[in-house]
């Protein structure tokens, strides 16, 4: 039975995380730009810089958050099972016992593929926390982890 101590996500995933949120923030800044230009009656000349200013402001906050988010995201594989720690303000720990794993998906987005990363999606038979995702793993690490969790599961019949 393979085990390892707390690991961080791949450094590249921080890039993926930031790029995807940079795009999300483009959308988020939109309504703020519209409201502020209505509020101050801005002309087109100022609307565009306003948009970029808002984007920069939000992205700045997000950048600071992402550093801590990345630091807090950790996972470990013990003999009991997979344990994930995450969250900056609202901190969470999820524990999935090895023998409760129903099935595991590996998904890869276009950005993640560029950096050779994958996301592990572990399903249990629970209700509220039935699906637990672990992003930012190297493709072969994700496959290994999946194999390890499934293998240790095979020894017992979980039906």
């Amino acid at each position: 039975m393979k085990t390892f101590d707390f690991k961080s996500l791949e450094k590249d995933y921080l890039k993926v995380f930031r790029i995807s949120y940079a795009i999300v923030i483009l959308l988020v800044s939109m309504p703020f730009t519209i409201t502020s230009s209505v509020f101050w009656d801005l002309s087109w000349l100022y609307r565009v810089p306003m948009f970029f200013f808002l984007w920069l402001l939000f992205y700045g906050f997000f950048y600071w958050y992402s550093v801590h988010w990345f630091k807090a995201y950790k996972y470990t594989l013990t003999e009991a099972g997979l344990k994930i720690h995450k969250g900056v303000f609202w901190q969470q720990q999820n524990m999935i016992p090895r023998n409760r794993v129903q099935h595991i998906d590996i998904t890869t987005g276009p950005l993640e593929r560029r950096y050779d990363l994958s996301k592990l999606v572990v399903h249990t038979a629970g209700t509220r926390n039935a699906t637990i995702t672990l992003p930012g793993l190297l493709q072969e690490d994700a496959a290994d982890l999946r194999q390890e969790l499934i293998n240790s599961n095979q020894k017992e019949d979980t039906v």
Partner: protein, 499 residues
């Protein structure tokens, strides 16, 4: 006895029941059609719904086949969207039978098969003859019991089961008529439906005028505009009393309809429950499939010195989409409830459960939280009614009492076999989960928790309520939570989960 692998058809009377079911599903548009619209459109809506229901009926009846294979039940249905459903016997969670007056007239029944998947029943066979129901029940029971055994052995069991089938087990729990009436009174089941109907009708001028004129037939002219305060109070109290009695009587009636002659017995490894006055429901639940046990009581429960015991199974079927059966004992004395639970789940040893409290300092947090909500409501009141809004401050001592009681009442227990949580100031709930039924464990810490060195631990089970989890221990010292989590992780990973 040989198992037919050729498809069975539904009973010939089936279209009638399917039609009724299709109508039932479209009862809401029907109601809107009748109450909501005015004039000539009503007929069209009714005709449209009736014709749609007929089409659904015919399709369902003609293209519904099912058969029993060596190890699975197979259901084939549909024309445009065909589906072939295979349910292995060992995966079947519950087997429920419904019989209402109409069913009884034709000697047929609706059979519902539940597995652990999702919220819909795996198969609803509507309707088949009584003999066929018995046959299917018997086959499923034997086959699922004989999972690990060889085929020859199965054959043997099939043969001698015909004799043992007739022996009636003594019931674990039974409800007398008095129990049912008491339960109806305690539950106030009719409160919500009556409230909804009354509020809808009171919005409709026509019905309101009709009600008032009907009332005036009995008590004479009311002359509301000339009422003094005393008259308001007297009439108000009389009306409230009338409503209360109506609610009680109809709640008791509802209880009788649902729980009349409730009987819970044990057959081998299954729980067998029967209940109902006009619509009779029979449910078969494998004991090992019970995921969670819940003991509930309200102030009225305590007045009658009774509790209610419920269970959760992995099939999340609710009353809206099938026959749901979650009762173990609707009304039972506490001592008997404890004994009954130990019979059903021997792992639950009441002597081994030692309740641990939350952190005593947690009351401050509950108090602050309640106060925050009081202030939140007070803000608009202050704006609209100025000084009068300050009356809300009277609630603060109540909040203090509530917070103290909350922390005193809440508690948890964890031992080798189970984890239990109890909570509630006015309505008490005790939830018990066997360690082997735990799916995953989570820990959450909010910024407020962190300031107070506290955390929350939740335990997820199959078929649990997705909105409020039953084992959700909050306001616990972070060190205790960490210990508990570590211990539970090891315990769970060492225990085998059986569906």
């Amino acid at each position: 006895m040989e198992l037919k692998t050729k498809g069975y058809r539904l009973h010939n009377i089936s279209p009638l029941f399917l039609f009724i079911e299709a109508i039932k599903k479209s009862v809401l548009p029907l109601l809107i059609g009748i109450v909501g619209t005015s004039g000539d459109k009503q007929d069209f809506i009714i005709i449209a719904i009736a014709s749609l229901a007929s089409v659904i009926t015919i399709v369902q009846f003609w293209f519904y086949h099912y058969w029993l294979e060596e190890d699975r039940l197979v259901v084939k249905e549909g024309i445009l969207f065909k589906s072939l459903r295979q349910v292995p016997y060992e995966r079947i969670q519950n087997l429920n039978v419904e019989k209402n007056v109409l069913h009884r007239l034709f000697n047929v029944a609706t059979l519902q098969v539940e597995s652990a998947s999702g919220v819909k029943p795996e198969a609803v066979i509507r309707v088949i003859s009584d003999d066929q129901v018995k046959f299917i029940q018997r086959v499923i029971k034997q086959r699922s019991n004989a999972v690990d055994e060889t085929e020859e052995k199965v054959e043997v069991i099939v043969n001698d089961d015909n004799d043992t089938e007739e022996t009636v087990m003594p019931p674990l729990y039974q409800m007398s008529d008095k129990d049912v009436a008491t339960y109806g009174f305690i539950s106030h089941r009719a409160l919500v439906p009556i409230g909804i109907v009354a509020s809808i009708l009171s919005q409709n001028d026509y019905y309101r005028n009709k009600f008032i004129s009907m009332l005036q037939n009995f008590v004479g002219e009311l002359h509301v505009e000339r009422w003094a305060i005393t008259e308001w109070i007297i009439y108000g109290l009389a009306f409230a009393f009338l409503m209360l009695v109506t609610i009680w009587v109809s709640s008791i009636l509802l209880a009788f309809l649902k729980l009349y002659q409730f009987r819970l017995a044990r057959q081998d490894n299954n729980l067998h429950a029967e209940m109902g006055l006009l619509t009779k429901i029979t449910a078969n639940i494998p004991i090992k499939r019970i995921q969670l046990l819940k003991i509930k009581d309200s102030p009225l429960h305590r007045y009658f010195k009774r509790v209610s015991v419920k269970m959760e199974t992995a099939g999340g079927v609710t009353e809206q989409n099938g026959i749901s059966m979650s009762w173990i004992a609707p009304l039972i004395s506490k001592a008997k409830a404890e004994r009954l639970i130990t019979v059903i789940q021997p792992e639950v040893d009441w002597k081994a459960i030692s309740w641990l409290g939350l952190e005593p300092r947690a009351w401050k947090r509950v108090f602050k939280r309640v106060c925050f909500f009081i202030l939140l409501i007070m803000a608009p009141l202050l704006y609209f009614y100025q000084g009068w809004g300050l009356l809300m401050l009277i609630l603060f001592p109540l909040a203090f009492i509530y917070a103290k009681a909350y922390v005193n009442k809440a508690g948890y227990a964890a031992n080798d076999e189970i984890i239990a949580y109890r909570q509630g100031v006015i309505f008490h709930t005790i939830s018990i989960v066997k360690v082997a039924k735990i799916q995953n464990i989570s820990y959450t810490q909010t910024p407020f928790d962190r300031r107070n060195d506290m955390a929350r631990i939740t335990v997820d089970t199959a078929g649990s309520n997705p909105i409020n989890q039953d084992i959700n221990i909050h306001y616990l010292d972070v060190r205790k939570v960490n210990d508990l989590m570590k211990r539970l992780s090891i315990q769970v990973s060492e225990s085998k989960f059986v569906w």
